[in-house]
């Protein structure tokens, strides 16, 4: 489907919550170094799908899965997969910009420290690189010891992205990253995602179709746990093949 190599491959992936099947036979290839948006109405399973990719659903009781999700050809649900390794490869940014009530430096250094990096210079280099990647370095380089909670909301979300990329992942998952932000901050984060896609494979869940249209290269439309349509964003929005996709992207259902 793309000239870019596959980064993540879902093979007949099913997820059950108790008796209820949330994801139904999902098979798809996510291209490396691109932004892929997952859209669909509330309850269609888009967040669950995103959280399956870094196994955050493991934390929930009564979740059962079948099928595979391959990261660079390796099934992340194999018993020998180390979750710390997995979550270093796949970073995640959440809906609300939740910075820890620590300093800016300590927020970004949290994940490297978890991995046992204690050398101050090493940590400082990682923090600088991560903040540079999200365009926050020049603003905060002189106040790294200030509480992260003193930043504006949009900057806090940038900080959360910096915190996620401090582990030097290949993949970044965004779970509705702009739903708590004002329109200007939203644009900034969208531009940032596109810029970051040169280095990272980005998957974003959004209920905002304009956002998917603006920020993503590929779009996957989910309905009731099934992929209805998946392809290049421009095609899916301008020339949908399925009537349900057309109804959704034109706002007739949702």
């Amino acid at each position: 489907m793309s000239s870019k190599p596959a980064k993540i491959e879902l093979n007949n992936f099913n997820l059950y919550y108790g008796e209820h099947q949330v994801l139904k036979g999902i098979s798809a290839i996510i291209a490396a170094n691109s932004v892929t948006a997952i859209i669909g109405p509330s309850g269609c399973g888009k967040s669950t799908l995103l959280r399956s990719i870094n196994r955050m659903n493991d934390l929930i009781d009564g979740v059962r899965i079948t099928g595979e999700i391959l990261l660079d050809g390796k099934n992340i649900y194999e018993p020998d997969v180390d979750l710390i390794w997995l979550r270093a490869r796949i970073g995640m940014v959440f809906q609300r910009p939740v910075a820890f009530p620590l300093s800016i430096f300590d927020n970004v250094a949290a994940a490297p420290r978890v991995r046992g990096i204690v050398n101050k210079d090493h940590l400082a280099r990682i923090v600088k690189k991560s903040l540079q990647a999200v365009g926050l370095w020049s603003d905060v380089q002189h106040c790294l010891n200030q509480s992260a909670l003193s930043l504006a909301l949009g900057d806090q979300q940038k900080l959360c992205i910096a915190r996620a990329i401090a582990t030097q992942p290949d993949v970044l998952l965004f779970d509705e990253p702009c739903s708590a932000l004002d329109p200007i901050s939203t644009h900034v984060i969208e531009d940032l995602m596109r810029a970051l896609s040169k280095r990272f494979t980005i998957i974003i869940v959004t209920h905002n179709m304009q956002q998917a249209a603006r920020a993503s290269h590929y779009t996957m439309f989910l309905l009731d746990g099934n992929i209805v349509e998946y392809g290049p964003t421009r095609e899916l929005f301008t020339n949908p093949k399925d009537i349900r996709t057309e109804n959704y992207v034109t706002g007739k259902i949702g």
Partner: protein, 276 residues
């Protein structure tokens, strides 16, 4: 304002005024009675003639060491229990049993703790009247305070923090030490300070377990006489009412300072949470 409301307003204002004046009266009375005795010499010299003369230095040292040792014992136990209850167990029979147990501990009269400490630590474990026996007894007394306040503080840490920490690859224990405890820190410290305040003023549990020696202790196995016990003995046996009031004033000021610092720590939390 309707007549009925006016009357009620008057009554609740009266209630508040009485509550405050009782406190002010007690504090004022003790301090005024104790003030003539208070001096640097009183604080820094040993008692003579069973406490009729001299100062209360051994009592101050005894109270400080006893309280410190009991806090050192109770804090890891209490905070550990709170971490277990909040992070490592699901709500269920066992968690409720632990919680019910610590709550019940809070309701036991201190004299019972004293008796238990005497029979178990002093006699059975052969620790004698000592700082260690007293501190272990006090630790079991202040444990519920520390467990409850720590648990409340940890519960106020948003689940989002834990989720993010897991997503960053942290284990549960790393999440507790790097994120949960630092966030809940001021609340936990408040609990420890409140426990401290309770330990400093405790008499009944201490008199049975730490003894009433007037000497300066040299190790945790030596007996001590804490300030409340000293005050009790001076007053009860009519040794010196002046020195009893002096001791009480020192104790009261110490407890007020401890409670003030707990209040300041709590105040800092509310500023941080409100100003976030």
């Amino acid at each position: 304002m309707p007549r009925e409301d006016k009357i009620m307003l008057f009554l609740i204002r009266l209630a508040a005024a009485i509550a405050v004046s009782v406190l002010l009266f007690i504090v004022g009375y003790i301090i005024i009675q104790g003030l003539p005795t208070l001096s640097l010499r009183f604080l820094l010299s040993s008692p003579t003639d069973m406490g009729r003369g001299g100062g209360i230095l051994p009592g101050i040292i005894g109270t400080l060491t006893l309280t410190l040792v009991s806090i050192l014992i109770a804090t890891p136990l209490g905070v550990g229990t709170a971490i277990f209850l909040t992070e490592y167990t699901r709500e269920g029979m066992f968690a409720n049993l632990v919680r019910f147990g610590t709550e019940s501990l809070a309701g036991i009269p201190s004299i019972i703790f004293g008796l238990f400490g005497f029979l178990f630590f002093v006699i059975r474990l052969n620790m004698g009247w000592s700082i260690l026996s007293g501190a272990l007894t006090l630790a079991s007394m202040i444990l519920p305070t520390i467990v409850r306040t720590s648990e409340e503080a940890i519960r106020t840490v948003p689940d989002a923090y834990r989720e993010i920490s897991f997503a960053l690859g942290a284990s549960r224990w790393q999440t507790v030490t790097a994120i949960v405890l630092p966030t809940a820190g001021p609340g936990i410290v408040t609990g420890i300070i409140l426990g401290l305040g309770r330990a400093v003023g405790e008499t009944a549990a201490v008199i049975f377990t730490a003894g009433s020696s007037l000497r300066i202790p040299r190790s945790v196995l030596d007996p001590v006489r804490t300030l409340p016990v000293h005050f009790y003995i001076l007053a009860r046996e009519g040794i010196s009412l002046n020195n009893a009031y002096g001791t009480a004033a020192v104790l009261l000021i110490a407890i007020l300072l401890i409670n003030l610092s707990a209040y300041l720590v709590m105040h800092r939390i509310s500023i941080r949470n409100g100003g976030g």
